[in-house]
Amino acid sequence: MTLKHLISLVLAALVCWAAILCGCTQSDDVIFNESNAQHINVQAFFSKSLDSNTVGVKTDTINPGDSVIFLTSVYPSKAIRSRDYFWTKDGEFFAFEYNTKKAIFDPGYHQFNFVFIDFFGDTLIDTLHLYVGSTPELDNKNFIPANNTQYIGVNDFVNFAWNVYDPDSMWDMSHHFVLKQAKGYYKNPKVLVDTILYDANFTYRKGFEPLGAYEWSVSVQNELHQTAQETIHSTLYTKGVNSEAALFGFVKYNSTENTIPLHLWMTNSKSTLVYDETLSYARGSAISIKPLNPGDYTLYTMAKDKPDFNVDSTKISIVANRVLVLDTISLEDTTPPRISIANSLDDTMDYSDTLKFTIKDFGSKVQEKRIKVALETSSVSTFKFSNDTLFVTLPELENSWSTRIISITAYDYSGNKAQETFKINPHKSLPEVFSE
C-alpha cells in the first residue's frame, strides 16, 4: 500500500465519522414541525358545585373541615392521550381524579397543583391557593368596663379591654373599635373614636361630658377577613359635677305615630313639682332630665291630647353622680275606637252610593287595614279610610225595598276592638220595585 492509499484510507474514515455524527443530528424525522403540534391547556378551579358550568375561583378561604370541590378542564378534551394526571397538595400527592371533593382540615396556606403529563411527557401544571382558617371568637360577655358602668369621671382615662380567641393561633387580627355618644340620648350623637386596632385593648384619654351616656363597640376579623360572629355593644355613663345626677327615660307606646307629644312632670318626696315639660317624643329616643339632686321622686308621663293612653307614674330613686336609665315608662291604650255614622248620632241612615262613617281613636290610632265592613253576612271591600272618616261604596242594593244591616269592625294599633251595626233604610218601596 502506498502513502496515497494510506491518506485515502484516513480521509475515508474521517468522512464516515462525520457522516455518522451528522446523521445523529440532522435527521428530518426529528425536526419539530409546528403544523403537526397540538396545543394543550389545563385549568384548575375551586368551585361550589361539581357542575362544570359553575364559576370557579383560583383562590379561596375556608374554615377547617369545610369541603372543597376541585375542578379541572383540559383543552381540547380530557379524552386526549395522556400519561398521567393528579393533584398535589403542598408538594405531596393529593388525588388522582380530574374533579374531586375533599374536606381540608389543617389550617394555614395550602397550594394545590393539578399536574397533567401529556403523551409526549410534557408536564402542564395549574395552581390553586387555599387559605384555611378558623373564624375568630370574641367574648361578648366578659369585657372591661362591663356594660352599664357608671360614675366614670369626665377626665378619667378609660381602659377598654376584651377577650379574643383565635383557634388557629396563626392569623393576625384587627379590631374595629368605636366610641360614641349613645344613640337616643343625644339629638346628634358624636363619634369620639372610630379606629382599627391590632391589640385587644384601647385607652381613651380625651375626656367626656358630665352625666353623659356613651356606647362603645368592638368587632373583630382576622387577616383572612373572617369576622367573628359576636360583637360587643356596651354603654357607660359619666358622673356629674357636685354629686348631681341624671335621668334618661325611654317611653314605650303603641301607636301608628312615630312622634307623639309628651307631658312630663316630676315631684319630689314632699310632692313639690320639680320638673314640668311638654315635648315632642320620637320613638326610641330618651327623655333626659338633668341635673337632678339625689333623692326620691315620682315621674308622671302622659301622651298629650291622647286621652285613650293611661298616665304613667313611676317612683324613682336618684343616686348621686349616677345616670338612672328608666326603661319601664309605658303608655298603654286600653280604650277601643268609637264608630258612628258621620255627622249623626243615629244608628240608621238612608241608602246612598257612598256611606260615610266616623271612626275615632284618641290613643294609638286606627289604620285602614285594621277595618272590616260587612253587609249582613257578605264582606265589603270597597271602602277607604281617611282622616277618621270611612267611605263605604255600595253597589245597587238587591232587595232594596227592605232595611239592610251594615256592620263595621275596627281595631286600634293597640289591638282594642270596636264593632257597630247600622241600619240602611230602603230607598225603594215594594210597589216601585214591582212596577219596574
Binding site: L3, I144, P145, N148, Q150, N201
Partner: protein, 231 residues
C-alpha cells in the same frame, strides 16, 4: 513515492481504533462519588441551665450560670472535630462546651467555628439572650383585705406592676373571681358589675418568650355604699 510496510499499517489501524474507542469510553466515564463518610450534616448550639436544655430561643437567666454546648449531627463525628467559640472575631474558648458565668459583663460567644482534621471549617452564628422571667410587684390595688364601698355599677380600679429585665412588651391576664380578662399591656383597668360581698383577683404576666409570673390571689370585700352591708 515511498512504500509503508503492511505491519505498520495494521498497527496504525489498531492504534486508530483504540484511540477512537478510548475517546468513546472516556466520554462515557463519570467520576466516582466523593467520599462522604464522616460528613457533618448540621451544627447547633444548645444552652444548658439548671439541667434544662434550650436549643430554640437560647435564652438564659443572667443571674445563674449556664453552659453552651456544641451539638453536631451525626453525633459520631463530634470526637474528630475541633470547636472554637468566638465573639465576633475574638476567640473566647476552645472545646465542645463553653461555660457562662452569672455576670452581666461576661462576654458570651456569638459564633461557633467547627474544624475537622483536614481543616475544613464551618461557622455557625447564634445569639444568646440574657433575660430573666418577668416578675409582678406585690403592691396592688385593691390591697389584700381592702373593703370598698361600691354599688354594682361602680368601676373598681385594679392596678398592678411588673418588672422586666428588658424593654420588650409584657402582656397581662387579669382574673377577677375566676373570670379572665386579657388586658394586653395595660396595668390599670376599672371593672364594674361586682356585687356586694367577698371577691378576689390575681394577675398573670407573660413575656414574649412565654416566661410568666403569677400574683397570688388578693382578697377584697365590697360593701353596700348606703347600708355598709357585706351581703
Amino acid at each position: 513515492m515511498s512504500f509503508v510496510p503492511a505491519k505498520f499499517l495494521r498497527l496504525l489501524n489498531i492504534c486508530l481504533a483504540l484511540t477512537l474507542g478510548g475517546l468513546f469510553v472516556a466520554c462515557l466515564d463519570t467520576p466516582s462519588d466523593p467520599d462522604t463518610s464522616g460528613r457533618v450534616e448540621s451544627i447547633k448550639v444548645h444552652i444548658v441551665q439548671n439541667d434544662k436544655v434550650d436549643s430554640t430561643t437560647l435564652k438564659i437567666n443572667p443571674r445563674e450560670s449556664a453552659t453552651l454546648v456544641a451539638a453536631v449531627y451525626p453525633n459520631e463525628a463530634i470526637d474528630n472535630l475541633d470547636f472554637f467559640w468566638y465573639y465576633d472575631e475574638t476567640i473566647l474558648g476552645i472545646g465542645k462546651t463553653f461555660p457562662v458565668s452569672p455576670d452581666e459583663d461576661y462576654v458570651i460567644p456569638n459564633a461557633l467555628l467547627v474544624a475537622d482534621a483536614e481543616n475544613n471549617t464551618k461557622k455557625v452564628e447564634f445569639n444568646v439572650i440574657r433575660k430573666s422571667a418577668p416578675s409582678l410587684g406585690m403592691e396592688t390595688i385593691p390591697h389584700e383585705g381592702d373593703v370598698i364601698e361600691a354599688d354594682e355599677f361602680a368601676p373598681i380600679q385594679f392596678h398592678w406592676s411588673a418588672k422586666n429585665s428588658s424593654k420588650e412588651k409584657l402582656t397581662f391576664i387579669l382574673e377577677i373571681d375566676k373570670t379572665q380578662y386579657n388586658v394586653g399591656s395595660l396595668t390599670r383597668v376599672s371593672q364594674s358589675g361586682l356585687s356586694v360581698g367577698d371577691h378576689s383577683f390575681r394577675v398573670i404576666v407573660f413575656d414574649t418568650y412565654g416566661d410568666s409570673d403569677t400574683l397570688k390571689w388578693v382578697n377584697f370585700t365590697i360593701t353596700d355604699p348606703t347600708t355598709g352591708a357585706k351581703q
